[in-house]
């Protein structure tokens, strides 16, 4: 021992930092009853980690009910945060560390196999001294069982410590836990305090101060009572990064696209995009119109677009169904329109808060008659932003409806992406008020591309009556069968004209090989992570992710031909071959598989699940391995979830 040590004051020795275990990534969950603020805690943790330069991806754990009964297995509300040294593209497989506000919500997560074997659990211990002996018994029994199952359980006095600081500890626990977690992962306290100031920015200083105090108490408790610590090395990007969720990215995309009007009707899980737009759109001269219903929202947007201001309507499945007739009108009359569908589980009310990719056929084939529309699907948070700008541009250039298919997973997931640099090219040209040349017709379709110049109200000489009836080039009602067919041909040709401008999608992994996984939308991160893992195992697996679902770019056929087997991975329903009545003749394939099969005449298999949760990379790996092992080139993959934990009868 040297002199320096002897000179160190005793209290500083006591507070000497625990050694932090360096790790490349960790998955953390904070779960509670609804309304206890676990999501805010997790979003803040993720934001702080992102500001430090960690890769992050957040996945909200949402019960279907707004206020499910307290302490219920099905009522778990919370958030999963995956933090890594590198860029993170999905929520990952199983959780390394959980903070649970009661043991019941924890049981739900354990039963759902969401925890890694041996995972660390930080559990609120107030139930140990609860006045109801049944609660105490349940708590004690659960802790015992968890320990027996190999989980490392730490009991934490969240309520007790928070009560020392605030009157309503239930409302303050989340910031205490934030402090605890920031301490555990060595996150910057200054950034944390800034984050707290940001989230409570609209409230007065006392609220911020009390939440900072809770945060600090949590950090101190962690420092004094926990015998482990982690460090996920972070590297600050040399570029400015934006940290938002998918719905906020969509709203920012609406602003950036130069659109003036968003017409909407409240629907989960799309509404938060409109909430944010409502808050900020008017500050940039736009407006959000909350219509009386979904149909009105769509018709309002169509009216605005017709008048020269391309508009957007934001909705989810049930609302999309209601808009179908109006969408058909926009198709028929060639009015540009952007429709954002943040998909949820269906049919009918389905699973409002849960992810599903079930609306692809409705988007591609929906509305009666032949109604060609453009369908694009963002596959990252960054894509959510740019897809709206692209959609607006295509809608106006081609006089078409462009459907943007996001989903409940992207809507709440946060992921950093490079800060967009605004470009004037994103904006629409000003409303055209130049006189229409004599003799020009409102639907003067180009014979090759089907494109025509749109006449807008206010343009002298352009007066005509637009109609949802079949019409000729002068917008006169078509009574002649050949005129009806000409309109159908021209509206269809516009898709081909757009298709000719699209680039083939990139292939992730190797250019050729044993198996190509094909996906669309929010599953890209999970699929590519699975491909990376499988290739590390030496397997010849690659993936292709489609952003354009309609039209599909050229080059896909050639890519498909370079792989021995092709299989789509989708978050929707497909019939399972292990079901007794299901065979090759009656099997209903997943939407993208069906579309690819019919277009390219390739025997494309599919694997899908509609469990209301993001698809996990581990599950994709398992499916791909089974596919490679199957000798007939057809999957014998079972649909039971992976995970080492048995469903216990607790």
């Amino acid at each position: 021992m040297n002199d320096t040590l002897t000179l160190t004051p005793p209290e500083a020795v006591a507070r000497s930092p625990r050694p932090a275990t360096p790790i490349s990534e960790h998955i953390v969950e904070v779960i509670s009853d609804s309304g206890e603020g676990a999501q805010r805690c997790g979003q803040s943790l993720a934001a702080i980690a992102a500001r430090m330069g960690n890769g992050i991806w957040t996945t909200e754990i949402i019960p279907a009910e707004i206020q499910p009964p307290a302490r219920s297995v099905a009522g778990a509300s919370g958030i999963r945060i995956r933090m890594g040294s590198e860029r993170v593209t999905n929520g990952g497989d199983q959780t390394d560390l959980v903070v649970a506000f009661n043991e019941q919500v924890l049981i739900g997560r354990v039963q759902a196999h969401e925890l890694k074997p041996g995972a660390t659990i930080l559990l609120e211990n107030m139930w140990h001294t609860h006045r109801d002996p049944a609660v105490v018994a349940s708590y004690v029994k659960t802790v015992e069982a968890l320990r027996k199952d190999g989980f490392k359980v730490y009991e934490a006095p969240l309520e007790e410590r928070c009560r020392e600081l605030v009157a309503d500890p239930r409302k303050g626990k989340n910031m205490f836990v934030l402090g605890m977690l920031c301490n555990l992962y060595g996150l910057d306290a200054k950034l944390a305090r800034e984050q707290i100031a940001r989230i409570f920015g609209k409230k007065d200083d006392r609220v911020i101060k009390s939440n900072v105090a809770l945060y600090e108490a949590g950090a101190a408790w962690g420092e004094a009572n926990l015998d482990f610590k982690y460090r996920i090395p972070a590297q600050r990007s040399s570029q400015a990064q934006i940290v938002v969720n998918g719905n906020t990215a969509i709203a920012l995309g609406v602003i950036a696209s130069g659109m003036d009007i968003c017409a909407m009707y409240p629907i989960t899980p799309a509404t938060s995009a409109s909430h944010y737009l409502s808050e900020v759109f008017e500050k940039v001269g736009g407006l959000v119109h909350q219509a009386e219903d979904e149909i009105a929202a769509c018709a309002f947007a169509i009216g605005a677009s017709y008048a020269g201001k391309c508009a957007v309507t934001i909705t989810s499945g049930p609302g999309y169904s209601l808009k179908q007739e109006a969408i058909g009108l926009a198709v028929m009359a060639e009015i540009p329109l952007v429709v954002v569908n943040v998909q949820r589980g269906g049919p009918s009310t389905g699973q409002p808060t849960k992810v599903e990719q079930g609306d692809l056929p409705a988007a591609v084939f929906g509305s009666h008659g032949d109604a060609p529309k453009v369908v694009i699907a963002p596959c990252s948070i960054e894509d959510c932003f740019y897809s709206v700008i692209t959609a607006r541009k295509i809608a106006e250039t081609f006089g078409m409806v462009v459907v943007v298919l996001s989903d409940a997973s992207l809507s709440t997931a946060q992921q950093p992406f490079p800060r967009p640099e605004f470009s004037e090219d994103w904006l629409a040209p000003p409303v055209d008020q130049t006189p229409v040349p004599p003799g020009a017709k409102p639907y003067d379709w180009d014979a090759v591309t089907g494109l025509s110049r749109r006449f807008q109200p206010g343009q002298p000489g352009g007066m005509h009556t637009l109609t949802g009836l079949a019409h000729d080039r002068a917008s006169k009602v078509a009574y002649d069968p050949s005129i009806n067919e000409e309109g159908l041909r021209m509206r269809s040709l516009k898709l081909a004209a757009l298709q000719k401008t699209l680039k083939a999608p990139p292939v992730f992994g190797g250019d050729s090989g044993e198996l190509l996984l094909v996906g669309w939308g929010s599953t890209m991160g999970a699929i590519e992570e699975a491909v990376t893992r499988l290739r590390a195992e030496g397997l010849g697996v690659s993936s292709m992710h489609l952003r354009f679902l309609q039209p599909m770019p050229s080059g896909i056929r050639e890519i498909l031909s370079r792989f021995k087997r092709v299989m789509t991975i989708e978050g929707n329903w497909s019939d399972k071959l292990e079901d007794e009545l299901i065979d090759e003749d009656n099997r209903r394939y997943s939407a993208l598989a069906m579309m690819l099969r019919s277009r390219f005449l390739v025997d494309i298999d599919c694997w899908s699940e509609a469990r209301g949760q993001p698809i996990k990379p581990g599950d994709i790996c398992r499916v791909a391995r089974a596919k490679l092992e199957s000798t007939q080139g057809r999957s014998q993959v079972d649909s039971t979830p992976s995970g080492g934990l048995t469903r216990s009868g607790r």
Binding site: A299, G303, P416, G462, L466, T467
Partner: protein, 329 residues
């Protein structure tokens, strides 16, 4: 939102428009259809108000009433059944400079479009609406509509309509935000024109229900009223309609009614015999939704860039050196 260029150009001479500047295709309505009277009044209104055809849009849904835009020579939007109101609202919100009219019917407005109708009154946007109410579905060949008289035998009510008819006036007057509610009949065209003119001049959502004959499916429905002028009650007031001397002689059943009086308006609206004709209610001070929402703002690319960057700033993680520069600034 950028204003149209035409607004900025100083016009050296006011363009004058004749009636034929508003006359589009030859109407394909039946002979004797009350829609013709409404169309004639509409074309006369546009001409006398000298509305620039390119700045005027007629929006409609589906039904006989909704063919009207095809017979105008302005811009027209013949959309889908029941949805004329939200389309018209979108147009007005995007372009408050345009004159927006809605032509709808008792099926289009009071049945399939009823939700939109109620809310359109509530929004009170500056739109002029004519409800062609012939008490029957004509285009689909005689089915009962919400305003069909009880007992009407139609293809869907072969034993007679079972329900009491809906009264579009009392419904409209029950909605918060109503600002102009009037009723006309096709058999008194002079008053019909005066009402439509007052409706157009009113700044707000002007709702004009026009009782019109359907010679094909309701040929005798209004005969008692046609044969007895006493059964048509004209509403007059210094703030409402004033009648010409000749009309006053023909229609002696007149009633003084101040359109600001909503209670009296509701009472009059409830009458079905005699049929009240005139302006039932007008509140010139009701705020318009497009004004409340500041529609038609000028937006330059620079404005949008600044706004977007302001929002992005909230979510930006700056690289270290830039962050310091940011804080220093």
């Amino acid at each position: 939102m950028s204003r149209s260029l035409s607004q900025c150009v100083i016009k050296l001479h006011e363009e004058h428009h004749d009636l034929e500047d508003y006359q589009g295709g030859v109407p394909r309505w039946c002979n004797g259809c009350g829609d013709n009277a409404i169309l004639a009044a509409m074309q006369r209104l546009c001409s006398e108000e000298n509305l620039a055809p390119e700045n005027t849009v007629f929006v409609s849904g589906i039904g006989c009433s909704s063919r009207l835009p095809h017979y105008m020579k302005t811009y027209g939007f013949h959309g889908i059944h029941g949805r004329a109101f939200p389309v018209a609202e979108g147009i007005k919100m995007a372009r408050p400079d345009l004159n927006v009219f809605v032509s709808t019917g008792d099926g289009d407005c009071c049945s399939i479009g009823a939700a939109h109708w109620i809310h359109a009154i509530r929004y009170n946007m500056n739109i002029t609406v004519v409800l062609h109410d012939n008490h029957v579905y004509g285009l689909t060949k005689k089915q009962a509509s919400p305003t069909s008289p009880k007992g009407l035998k139609s293809n869907t009510t072969p034993y007679g309509a079972t329900l009491e008819p809906m009264n579009p006036l009392t419904v409209s007057l029950g909605v918060q935000g109503a600002s102009f509610i009037a009723q006309g009949v096709d058999w008194v065209p002079e008053v019909l024109y005066d009402i439509m003119k007052a409706a157009f001049k009113h700044r707000g959502f002007s709702f004009v229900r026009i009782i019109q004959r359907c010679p094909e499916f309701m040929p005798k429905a209004f005969d008692p009223w046609l044969h007895d002028p006493q059964r048509t009650m004209l509403l007059t007031h210094a703030n409402g309609l004033q009648l010409s001397p000749s009309l006053s002689v023909a229609y002696r059943n007149q009633r003084e009614h101040d359109p600001i009086d909503i209670d009296r308006a509701r009472e009059i609206a409830s009458l079905d015999d005699p049929i009240p004709v005139g302006i039932l209610y007008q509140n010139p001070d009701a705020p318009c939704y497009e004004d409340l929402r500041h529609a038609g703002q000028l937006r330059s690319p620079e404005y949008i860039r600044a706004g977007l960057n302001r929002e992005l700033d909230k979510y930006t993680v700056w690289p270290d050196d830039e962050a310091q520069a940011q804080r220093a600034a």
